[in-house]
């Protein structure tokens, strides 16, 4: 069962996403802010991180960069999530080391597709 860390400060979004992912068979860990997200990512064994970018305190870009700089967490794929539909956000997310990017409101099937794309290659043995 794939484990997903969801870093999201908005309670409703957090609840909805975690429940929907849970229903699809993912084990979801939640973190309320950047600091928590960073700690959770470092302590747990996650297959993927969904990262809201605009977080209070330590923002999502910073957390993503810190995780990608740390050899222990570098390999965990990160999908950045943001409400800002600006092209600059996407650039900044990719620059910070995020592996993919999606905008809110979440189009759930599309997000699922992205999650599968990043997790599956890691679960299946390389030919």
């Amino acid at each position: 069962m794939a484990r997903i860390l969801l870093v999201e400060d908005n309670e409703l979004n957090r609840d909805m996403l975690s429940r929907r992912l849970g229903r699809r068979g993912f084990a979801v860990t939640i973190a309320n802010d950047g600091r928590q997200g960073l700690d959770a990512a470092r302590s747990g064994h996650h297959d993927l991180i969904l990262m809201d970018l605009s977080l209070p305190g330590l923002d999502g870009w910073t957390v993503a960069r810190l995780l990608k700089e740390d050899p222990a967490t570098r390999r965990i794929p990160i999908i950045a999530l943001t409400a800002h539909a600006m092209s600059g956000d996407r650039e900044r997310a990719l620059e910070a080391g995020c592996d993919d990017y999606d905008t809110k409101p979440i189009d759930f099937p599309r997000l699922l597709g992205k999650i599968q794309a990043l997790i599956v290659p890691r679960c299946q043995p390389v030919e």
Binding site: R23, A85, E91, P105, R110, K114
Partner: protein
């Protein structure tokens, strides 16, 4: 010391050596001879001695024989044998000694032979005695032959002896003479050598004393030369044939800027001071005239040349280079030079004055005060022009030349007095030209003093002031006219400010504007007109300085009226100069622009207020849209989730309602997103993200998205995409969003029809490549009036269409703005009932810099990433 003396000395020494050598040779010869003679004499004495011994041995033999014969004593036989034996030995000695004496040897041998023969005879005789035949023996002996033979033996002995004696005497004499000769020779040679040595000594003494005297003279002469060089004002230096400095006097060092001679001694002077022409070209040493001096042995003179100083500057010099020669051989050169800068300077100055004298408009003459009648010795060209008298005419005559019957006698008297008293004088008088015409002459004379304070010349200046007198009147009239004109200007304040900053003229306009009457303000500081704060800041002085420096100074600021009220004025200050450019003062022109200023300020304030309000509205919209979206996310998300759950759990009756919640939420979100986009565009905060992408792929993606919508209304979707459409450099998202908007509009407003998408590339006349995306439908179409409202935000062609067809009514506006941001456009052609054609026209390569548009440069992304991206706008444009 001359060479001759040296030769003499050498000869002397040679002679002494020769004499001594000859002496030695001769003495050696003499000594050798002496030695031989001495030896010969000694040898001869030995021979004599041996002969003596032979003679004595004979005597002994005779005595023994006689004893035997007389008494027959047998003892005497023994004596005889002994004597005979001794005789034989002595003979042997004699022969041996005479071996190296050929003259005596023969005789000695004869003597030996004869003597031995006699001895044998005697022994034979004596043997008879032994035999008892004494008498017979006596008789035999007494016989004549034996006696005769004995006698001849004695004679032979005597002969040898006498010969030897003669020889011995000769040798002894010769030895003596040899000794004498050696002595005499030695004496003569020694004396001669002594004499010669004495002569040489005398010669040497003379030579040495001469030499020391010459040295002293030379040293004195050198000291004198050095003193001369040291005190010379000219620079002097010497060089050897290599051009290397061998001496340099203090004046040269000073002129060339060196502190001590050590800095130049041993250096190549050409390289040091003469290496470069003044124009910067290298002065090749083989072209250097000083260097030529060594070669040709000829002195040279340089007049227009430059020497380089230690500090890198150069000085103009005149130099002379003289070769130094000894015995026909050039040893080097002496160069003397002077710095001709002062001379050049004086020449230049002189030429300048000469030129000035020729050029000036005033007539100038010079007189010679040595003579009481003060004759003119020089007149300049202007004098010739002015008076008609040439230099030749004027020479020798005095200033009376210019006077005539109507010349003021007082003026003439004043001039004469000034000449007498050797002082300056200026007079105004009527002067006469050569042709008899007259002119008003402002004549000045001034004495010129020599260095000793005595007056050497008088200089006179003749100025024709006839014309200036007329000009003054003309200018006065013209000025009056100008003054009246300025006076009558009412709209502009025009006033003059003098160099002290005081108001020096004041026109009617100024009076009207500032309220001061001319009499109140004239002479007052112009600062009075400015506000107190400007006065403190020194604005007026700065303004005048700026005008003086740049020719004009304009400004807009507040000014003060006499009653203390303020007005806003535009001013222009210009400097006033005379013909020579000397600053006389300033004019200031001021105009009251308070009204227009106020109007302008109001306009500006209104504009700013409007902008602020607009910005506030945009900010509000942005924030509000963002705030609205957060709960909407939840509504849509939870709705969708519930819908899924209801389906899965078989609660079919809830599904349609939950779908309505979900789709309504999405519609609201699309509306809000459009509002957000629009407000961002309006606020100038929408960025372009440029990247290169495959256009056909983008179109295919968009078509896939629109297909379900098109099918919903029973429309057929046709696309005409050429294979070679290629790539495009633009904001992919915005292109996709615009195209999607056109397609979804077409799908919405067409039922059971056909929607056609055409794509093509076109080159325009300017060589720019364009992409054309054409969306054609055969739907309801639009009237002209509907078309005109089409691109206005919040306005659909018919308000009812929103209700009927959905959509925000913002899509077209946003799409058009997007296209415009990328330098393109959207055009529309439509007929009611005939359908519409919307055309997107975009540059194939959107320039990376466009005014007023913020652009971020994209990486050219991988196909996979690019393909997922345009889909993010799906929710905004579909129902």
């Amino acid at each position: 010391m001359s060479r001759f003396s040296e030769t003499k000395l050498a000869w002397g020494f040679g002679l002494v050596l020769t004499v001594l050598a000859a002496n030695t040779l001769i003495s050696f010869g003499d000594l050798a001879e002496l030695r031989i003679n001495t030896y010969s004499a000694a040898h001869s004495r030995d021979i004599l001695e041996a002969i003596e011994n032979v003679a004595l041995a004979f005597k002994d033999v005779e005595t023994a024989r006689r004893g035997v014969l007389v008494d027959g004593n047998p003892n005497d036989f023994d004596a005889f044998d002994g004597a005979a034996h001794s005789l034989t030995d002595e003979l042997e000695v004699l022969v041996h000694l005479a071996e190296d004496r050929p003259d005596q040897y023969r005789f000695c041998l004869l003597l030996q032979k004869t003597a031995l023969a006699r001895l044998d005879e005697l022994r034979a005789t004596l043997n008879r005695v032994q035999a008892g035949e004494l008498e017979a023996a006596r008789a035999e002996f007494s016989a004549e032959p034996i006696r005769a033979r004995l006698k001849s033996l004695y004679e032979l002995t005597d002969e040898i002896e006498s010969r030897e004696l003669t020889f011995h005497r000769t040798r002894v004499a010769e030895r003596r003479s040899s000794i004498w000769r050696a002595f005499i020779t030695f004496s003569i040679a020694s004396t001669l050598a002594l004499v010669l040595i004495g002569s040489i000594y005398a010669l040497l003494r003379r030579y040495l004393s001469e030499r020391s005297r010459a040295d002293r003279t030379l040293r004195e002469s050198e000291a004198r030369v050095r003193l001369l060089l040291d005190s010379a004002g000219e620079g002097v230096y010497g060089v050897d044939c290599e051009g290397v400095c061998t001496f340099c006097n203090p004046a040269a060092l000073q002129l060339l800027g060196y502190r001590s001679a050590d800095e130049v001694l041993g250096r190549n002077m050409h390289d040091l001071i003469h290496h470069t022409h003044q124009d910067g070209q290298t002065f090749e040493v083989h072209n250097c005239p000083i260097f030529q001096t060594f070669r040709t042995g000829q002195g040279t003179l340089g007049e227009e040349d430059f020497f380089w100083r230690a500090d890198g500057t150069n000085i103009p010099v005149e130099y002379r280079a003289h070769p130094i020669r000894r015995d026909g051989e050039t040893l080097g050169a002496v160069v003397t030079f002077v710095d001709v800068a002062p001379k050049r300077h004086a020449e230049t100055e002189m030429r300048l004055r000469e030129r000035a004298l020729k050029a000036i408009a005033q007539g100038v003459f010079i007189t010679d005060p040595a003579r009481s009648d003060e004759p003119i010795i020089y007149v300049n060209a202007a004098f010739e022009r002015l008076t008609g008298y040439t230099q030749a005419d004027a020479s020798g005559r005095n200033i009376d030349l210019l006077t005539g019957p109507e010349t003021d006698p007082h003026a003439i008297e004043e001039l004469m007095a000034a000449f007498r008293e050797r002082r300056e004088a200026s007079v105004m008088m009527l002067s006469y030209r050569k042709d008899g015409s007259t002119f008003w002459d402002a004549l000045t004379i001034a004495p010129v003093e020599g260095p000793d304070g005595l007056v050497t010349h008088f200089v006179g200046v003749v100025t024709d002031i006839t014309r200036p007198k007329q000009d003054v009147e003309r200018i006065r009239i013209s000025e009056e006219r100008l003054r009246l004109m300025i006076e009558s200007v009412r709209e502009y304040a025009i006033f003059a400010i003098d160099l002290e900053g005081r108001v020096s003229s004041w026109n009617g306009g100024a009076e009207r504007l500032f309220g001061y009457a001319e009499s109140d303000i004239l002479g007052q500081g112009a600062d009075l007109l400015t506000t107190p704060e400007d006065r403190l800041a020194g604005v007026t002085a700065r303004e005048l300085d700026r005008a003086e420096a740049t020719g004009r100074a304009d400004d807009e600021r507040w000014y003060l009226r006499q009653d203390g009220s303020r007005f806003f004025a535009s001013v222009l200050v210009t400097p006033v100069r005379d013909e020579d450019g000397t600053l006389l003062g300033y004019t200031k022109v001021a105009r009251d622009i308070t009204e227009s200023k106020r109007a302008e300020a109001e306009l500006l304030a209104a504009k700013e207020a409007a902008e602020v309000a607009n910005r506030a509205k945009s900010a509000f919209l942005t924030n509000m849209s963002h705030e609205l979206r957060t709960p909407l996310n939840a509504i849509i998300g939870y709705g969708e989730m519930l819908e899924e759950e209801a389906r899965e759990q078989g609660l079919a009756e809830f599904v349609p309602d939950l779908t309505r919640i979900h789709t309504s939420g999405k519609h609201l979100l699309a509306l809000i997103n459009d509002l957000l986009d629009l407000s961002k565009i309006e606020a100038g905060r929408m960025d372009l993200y440029l990247e290169t992408f495959d256009l056909a792929a983008l179109i295919r993606n968009t078509l896939a998205t629109i297909e379900p919508i098109a099918e919903r209304n029973g429309n057929a979707l046709r696309a005409e995409i050429p294979d070679d459409l290629g790539s495009m450099h633009a904001d992919q998202t915005k292109v996709s969003q615009s195209l999607l908007n056109l397609l979804s509009n077409a799908a919405k407003f067409t039922e059971g029809g056909t929607i056609t998408l055409g794509a093509s590339r076109k080159l325009d006349q300017g060589g720019v490549e364009w992409i054309l995306l054409e969306v054609t439908d055969d739907g309801i179409g639009m009237t002209r009036e509907e078309l005109s409202r089409l691109f206005r935000p919040f306005v659909q062609a018919d308000a009812s269409t929103t209700r009927k067809y959905g959509g925000t009514g913002l899509g077209l506006t946003i799409s058009r703005r997007f296209c415009e941001m990328m330098g393109g456009s959207i055009r529309v052609e439509s007929e009611p009932g005939q359908g519409s054609t919307f055309t997107i026209r975009l540059p194939a390569h959107v320039p990376d810099q466009r005014p007023g548009v913020s652009i971020s440069q994209g990486l050219d992304h991988k196909e996979g990433q690019a393909a997922t991206w345009p889909g993010s706008y799906l929710s905004k444009t579909t129902n």
